[in-house]
Symmetry: C3
Subunit: 396 residues, 3 copies
């Protein structure tokens, strides 16, 4: 779509509640709001690809608050902020859980005097990440109302224990482009399946984000995993309700082949069992680090019983015409490349490398669109102004 088509599309959507608001979970948002974000993401990409500066900030900070190292997410957030004119400031709090509200309240305000947006990644402990993000948002709201903060920084969830909205929405925008429109997702079968990995404790937020989001587009979403690898029940419940409301399907199976059968899209990926992660969170809270090590070993042994859960060439043959679109949030554990036995055959991964990289390329634009909608009162007017001004991003 060209700029005018994108703008026309945006004009038909009601998204005013995105303004001056946070982004925690996709299921907090209406269908129109999500579509508006997809549309603005495409528009910002259009601007950049046409060397038109999408800068709306003359100065300002984007704070990244990460609980663990992350090259990809850090670069995506940095790219999104930079594109809009915000400078990044990292606040690395380490992997420790912050002890009490007092500190969070104070820190949230102290880093926010010039902050327009705070991107938070906190996916390590069940029941913590989302709660923490909400707390930060509440505290800066309070600071804003009390006149401490000149502006109210909005929060963008860059991954929590429940959802990974920037990933799931980047994945979806990729699907929209691959299938030629959001309306074409209707009826497509997507297999969100567990896959074996020799590493431990991968977050649940990716499968949860996917079943919580793709069930909103009338898709036939199958969640497959070995017994014991359940995701959070409340997110399953959301997926179930979505399927009902939006005319799709949400089913579960313990058979990978069943999920792959005739699938249009497959998303095979390792994650840790919810119950185990909950146990780990509790052990962590009690400071029982020896028990955590024991748990970890147990989980790795449990994983190893399911090495047959892999996206092999044979499994791919089961999919629609043997050509389902393969998705992954990257990095994948590739058999014989990054590990002995992993999530995916090297030949499968290789065949899908370009689409996989494209999938990832949407994330900076999704984040930028979220920020744009949070901070700009009249997005349509501002986008039109940017195009009219036609300031070169690079004076080449």
């Amino acid at each position: 779509m060209n700029f005018n088509e994108l703008l026309e599309k945006l004009k038909k959507l009601d998204y005013k509640d995105l303004y001056h608001n946070d982004f925690f979970l996709t299921w907090d948002k209406t269908q129109k709001e999500l579509e508006a974000i997809f549309t603005v993401a495409d528009t910002l990409r259009y601007l950049r690809e046409n060397n038109i500066s999408p800068k709306i900030f003359d100065s300002g900070l984007g704070i990244s608050l990460f609980r663990d190292n992350s090259t990809r997410t850090r670069f995506s957030f940095a790219s999104a902020c930079n594109m809009l004119g915000l400078e990044i400031q990292d606040l690395d709090e380490g992997k420790s859980q912050i002890a009490h509200g007092e500190t969070v309240k104070e820190t949230s305000n102290m880093i926010s005097f010039m902050a327009d947006v705070i991107g938070i990644r906190d996916d390590m402990y069940i029941g913590k990440g989302h709660t923490y993000q909400k707390a930060v948002a509440e505290y800066v709201e309070e600071g804003f109302k009390d006149g401490v903060l000149e502006q109210r920084p909005t929060v963008v969830n860059l991954q929590c224990d429940i959802d990974h909205p920037t990933q799931a929405m980047a994945d979806t925008l990729h699907l929209i482009h691959e299938f030629g429109g959001i309306e074409n997702l209707k009826g497509k079968k997507v297999a969100m399946t567990w896959a074996y990995s020799p590493s431990y404790g991968k977050p649940l937020s990716v499968p949860q984000g996917i079943i919580g989001l793709l069930t909103r587009f009338g898709m036939d979403v199958v969640l497959a995993h070995p017994e014991g690898y359940e995701v959070m029940p409340e997110v399953e419940e959301i997926a179930r309700k979505n399927a009902e409301q939006y005319g799709g399907k949400f089913t579960k199976t313990n058979d990978m082949a069943e999920a792959f059968k005739d699938a249009d899209i497959v998303y095979p990926k390792s994650w840790a069992p919810f119950a185990a992660m909950e146990e780990r969170t509790n052990l962590y809270g009690e400071g029982k680090f020896d028990e955590i090590n024991v748990l970890e070993k147990k989980l790795l042994a449990q994983n190893a019983e399911h090495k047959d859960w892999a996206c092999t060439e044979e499994m791919m043959k089961l999919t629609k015409d043997g050509k389902a679109l393969y998705l992954h949030c990257l990095p994948a554990d590739i058999t014989g490349v990054s590990c002995e036995t992993g999530e995916v055959d090297a030949t499968v991964f290789d065949r899908y490398r370009v689409p996989l990289y494209k999938e990832a390329s949407y994330k900076p634009y999704i984040i930028a669109a979220m920020i744009f909608m949070q901070k700009v009162k009249n997005p349509e007017e501002t986008l039109q102004k940017l195009v009219d001004k036609n300031k070169a991003r690079l004076e080449r």
Copy 2:
């Protein structure tokens, strides 16, 4: 005050020596110069609150040179630089003392090819921090004169062993706003008192900065601490002279209650005894790390004898109408919250949280004002230009 009032105020002040000059200690500066910085800080805040870009740099670097970790100071400096258009580059030299002048001279020049300002925090060792900051300034001055540097980066003291000017000035600007004008500080009683904390070696620069600055506004400044917790005698001497010159008072007591009695403002805060810090510096210089550990334990035990030095509800009742303004540079050690027994009761802290956060909010503007005055030849003209241009900080 609105923009025109601020500008009129600025026009009446003589501050030309701030230009192309460093900021080390508040007592290096004249009364008019400090007032000019307060006024520009308010003006920059006015601009930002009215969405007018205060950017004066199109490109350029602000170097932060910190000897230890600091979230707050780092974010304040980053905010100030960003607001004016400078990008931050951190030079983390670790906690080690840099051994000799050769290296300081070379590093100072090597990081300064594009540096407009260098913010330095070096508060760990008595007799070192200020000396180091002066050395950096001298070396870049030399580099500038020799034609090595195209511009002369100015130095901003973000905390040294003697003074903490950005803190003390932010505190003062907070007082100016709370009491409705700098002239209203005259005659007010301020209790700068020691308070118990279970942690060791907190810098002296905060109490020193406060007694060195607030004695200039005709205030009745009382420095209170247990015996053995003396601050640097040369700073006491400055406080004494200030009080004389500016018609205020500077007294000392070893009785916290006496200091709190009828105080308009209280600033209860832990610090290490000057003599002990001096001893530590010497031990450090001699590489006697075991002795440092012994000293540390001794000091913590000494601290523990003074747990009654706390800003309790009872102590607060002694103050003027029981309602003195409570100040702190944050983070505070809050009894029952961040530690078992600390500097302040949780209920007292809680009651003053909003003013405390506001107090902190002035720091980025104070730093920005210092940089502005150091780099801009005609501040009045440039501020007028910024308002006339009316470039939106955020295109909302």
Copy 3:
């Protein structure tokens, strides 16, 4: 030269292949291309010294990808990027060698969605650094062609195992200014000599970069080192061919005094023997860390046999009128200052401090010029536009 003279000079040069291309090794580039970079470096310096903004990017990222810590190179790259309008993002991969192509390919793309330039420093292992830089460039080229990347980030070699082009070109630009023009370098004798240092494993890229570049200007280049301190034979071969093609000389000696005799320029600097570095790379690849320690000790002992290789006052007397220009990439090991016995006498170093700092000051401009030529299609037109627009870098 003033702006018009610089622009006229540039117009006479053919440099179009620099556009949309990487900078790995100086000997990949034609004489005209190098001259164009020198000229643009001088032009950018002219702009900055005249407070004219040289910004060509409205937004965009400059990625720094360093395999080890580096204050100087990091600040030079940051300065260059900032000057042109790019924000820095550091990707610190640690000192480990990245294991296989899959990861490099993926990471290269994942960090590049908004990247205009990637500066890489990877000088630790013989046979690795250059190969790695080529791989990154190839992978982002692929990503660009496949439509993954909206723009093709170019690579700038900030030091590899073979060459250190930004250093060697900054050194050369310094010589051009000291001797009053590139044409005046013809016939000058330059002694690139080994010197003793008590530290181990200093990279070969500096001497290699110097003999590979200075032999192109008709200079009489002498490479001097003790037996066993050979540099890479293929770079010596390049030096030899250059000397032949450009009417200069390239000779080798194991006698420092012979090299210094009547030299116009001396560059005494420690480096590790090529064969030993090759051995270390192999041991590293095999994970034989104990053997690496043994090798290191052997090399330090070997170094210690050549303490007489030092740039003393006596050695300096041998040079042309006793006044050869002393070069160093900094930091130097200064006898009695940074170490007991080192590369250079303190009095010699001191006498040349200002020119040494100036030498270093060219590096940010050289890097900026490389980026400028890589990203701007019509450099002459764009430079003219920048001057005509006359946007102040600092609104003073």
